[in-house]
Symmetry: C2
Subunit: 329 residues, 2 copies
């Protein structure tokens, strides 16, 4: 275990943040950093706490570094924005290994680089509990940001890809029995990856925002049942989901069986898939399909919006309300 000091860490962060970016006036090294806006900034903050939001026993630090940033970038994707700058606050126990911190930082810097986003400031403090708080600044693209408030009666309801994958991945990784030998890492690779290394839908979010077809958007972090309830509340509408249209990976059923879990719980109530959930304006579904489905074959219409309140799930013979049944963290 290499000994480390806050000074070492700050020096590494400072080195990593050297260089210039459009709009960056002052980076790490002053009381504040300073950035110039072209118009408005989108801002989001998320905290991850050891043993609550992640499990170090199976989450490699490099992937956790990527995920710590990814979940924040996903908030920018959900507004249709372009991520620009990141502030990082690390609460670090003194007995945390330098190798762990260094690998975490490599992962965080790697994904920032992939999305052309720059680390410009933050704070590191000693603590008993490992905690990571990321604040991201992004800029709207095209006509502007897409909010949760824009869904209207007659709009159609869409998701950007399969649901339940991250929830199943976490359950597989947390299952002692499966971990002790019988976990099929090839079969379940995509599910494990969905939990360990989620991909923020930045390019798709921007494409949807620029398309002009989308009336509301958010990401799915707490599960479809809860997140869609937020959109319905913000837009004062009712959402009806058709159960048979919900997209999921074929191996999700095998995982659910091995885990003795209901596949519906994974799809509707497990969080962290970071898919985009959006509505397409009334009467524009055909144009939207012609315009986007060829290049974005993963997006799926799962239902529609009508007047009323709450989230409802339609199966063959029943309709039940599922508002806010997702994961609360």
């Amino acid at each position: 275990m290499a000994v480390w000091s806050e000074r070492m860490l700050i020096e590494r962060i400072r080195q990593a943040s050297e260089g210039s970016a459009d709009g960056l006036i002052t980076s790490i090294g002053d009381d504040c950093c300073e950035v110039r806006a072209n118009g408005s900034f989108l801002l989001s903050t998320d905290s991850l706490i050891d043993s609550i939001h992640f499990n170090r026993s199976f989450h490699p630090p490099h992937l956790l570094g990527r995920k710590s940033i990814a979940v924040n970038l996903s908030d920018i994707a959900a507004m249709g924005g372009k991520p620009r700058f990141v502030l990082l606050s690390l609460n670090l126990p003194e007995d945390l290994e330098w190798e762990w911190i260094s690998a975490w930082l490599d992962g965080a810097l790697e994904i920032l680089n992939e999305y052309d986003c720059m680390l410009i400031g933050g704070d590191t403090v000693k603590s008993k509990e490992l905690g990571i708080t990321v604040t991201v600044l992004g800029e709207p693209v095209g006509e502007g940001a897409i909010y949760r408030t824009g869904a209207k009666e007659g709009d159609t309801l869409w998701v950007s890809g399969p649901l339940g994958s991250a929830g199943a991945g976490l359950a597989l990784l947390s299952n002692d029995h499966l971990q002790s030998g019988s976990l099929d890492k090839t079969l379940f690779g995509a599910l494990l990856e969905a939990h360990l290394n989620p991909v923020p839908k930045i390019a798709l979010g921007q494409k949807l925002a620029k398309s002009g077809f989308v009336s509301s958007m958010q990401d799915i972090s707490d599960g479809l049942a809860t997140d869609l309830a937020h959109t319905c509340k913000a837009s004062e509408v009712l959402a009806l989901i058709h159960a048979e249209r919900l997209p999921y990976l074929p191996e999700l059923q095998i995982a659910a069986d091995q885990l003795e879990m209901e596949i519906e719980d994974l799809i509707l109530r497990a969080g962290e898939d970071y898919q985009l959930l959006f509505t397409v304006k009334k009467g524009q579904e055909t144009l939207f399909r012609q315009s986007l489905l060829q290049t974005e074959p993963g997006i799926v219409r799962i239902g529609e919006i009508s007047s009323g309140n709450g989230v409802f799930l339609k199966k063959k013979l029943t309709i039940e309300e599922i508002s806010f049944q997702g994961y609360e963290h």
Copy 2:
């Protein structure tokens, strides 16, 4: 002990953040908040951890709420800026009393209101350890922000008021012997207040930035010896402090005697006074004094800048280097 849920807390924060502000496009309730900039934004993040940065046994939650915001506003003051918006990340243990959280929030919202600054977003998570991360956005005023990099040979060196007060206040509050009965809360009122409820020098910072006389500025959070070393490093200059010019409250000597501490340690090496430390451009001292000293009698010239590196303290017969001897947290 009142039972609380994150939903209760978020609802209180949401209610407190209702209303509009110039430049605020979207507040709490979407994936991101959105703010419009007039030009650039100043950004700073600070984390406070229970038992490391504060002691709940003697820090009333209302004052800690004020201080959690104040230390961030001080970073904006140090750039000569105007605070505008705040993001709040709270890591809250489940057994924390609702009364404590509620009083903390009252204090935080009170000081935000005093400085016309708005809470626009954040995150609350469950944790084992109480942690508070605040991100503040401000705007430069006048000709623009004042950086640490602007000090030049021949400039004079100033502080905005007495040093060592907060360090003595913390030591008095932490001293079991004094706490058990003999602590004179009237005599030491200003010292205790300096630790428990520091005042960010927002108006003075803006006045200094607008004056045109100031070449560099920062706040004193980690102690004069360390913070001045940061300015010297950033500006590539040497600072000489005259020991006899260092300002402190008269009761500081009495406190130091009772605490059996060196008064010089409190003045140079204890942090958290949140005074401004700034340099006045070469040859402009007389004009600066005529222009500002009448309305700001607390500001004091403590030394001057010359070529070289590091921070030096001049006493009657000696000069010693004191760079980076302050508090590291």
